[in-house]
Symmetry: C2
Subunit: 123 residues, 2 copies
């Protein structure tokens, strides 16, 4: 019932931006890298990946260019823009907040019984 892509949903774009920070890349490689980082526990489906690229490029968070391979399949490389980098930084900060928020919504607050009703102590 819990579909991982639903959790990731809001973060596919940010994940792509995060990877592009480390240098230009293209779809296929980027996805392999993601699989490798997550020990193959996660991958972006191709359809998802390429629609995300379109979205990001339409909004000027990345720009693309064709590689000049004279052998093998052609590759479309992507570069993160300054705007994209800013977005990445913002989203990263948000992520840390959201993480804590979900944690506090999913887990018992400590000291149950010490106080009669739940209190959020870590904020």
């Amino acid at each position: 019932m819990l579909v991982i892509s639903d959790v990731i949903r809001g973060y596919t774009d940010t994940i792509i931006l995060a990877q592009l920070r480390e240098g230009d890349s293209y779809g296929y490689e980027l996805n392999k890298r993601i699989q490798s980082i997550t020990d193959s526990e996660f991958e972006l489906k191709e359809a998802t990946l390429y629609t995300a690229f379109r979205r990001l490029e339409d909004d000027a968070y990345i720009i693309s260019y064709w590689g000049d391979e004279n052998v093998g399949a052609r590759r479309r490389y992507y570069t993160i823009t300054e705007k994209g980098l800013e977005l990445y930084r913002e989203n990263l900060q948000d992520w840390d907040k959201i993480k804590d928020m979900i944690d506090s919504l999913l887990k018992d607050v400590c000291c149950k019984g010490w106080l009669s009703r739940p209190l959020l102590l870590q904020r």
Copy 2:
């Protein structure tokens, strides 16, 4: 651009289950509680909340009954079932894994430069 509800998406159901663990509750109260826990940084929109209730009840993760208020608006209370509790526990475990996964995808792996290519050390 980063819409919180997209991140939460996969977790609205689990959040509801988590709250019901602590005792029966009804929509309005549950949402107030969520707002209070998150310092009003988050709320479930009513439409989202009630559709989630339907979904969860259809799948037998919760059951509902009408409160016997003889004053004020009627309330529909929800109880978490054994099946719901199991789901909650599973999803909570998944959350901890997914959290780490997203972290590793968004953030630099430590020791950059120490190793020439990214490695996931925390797994």
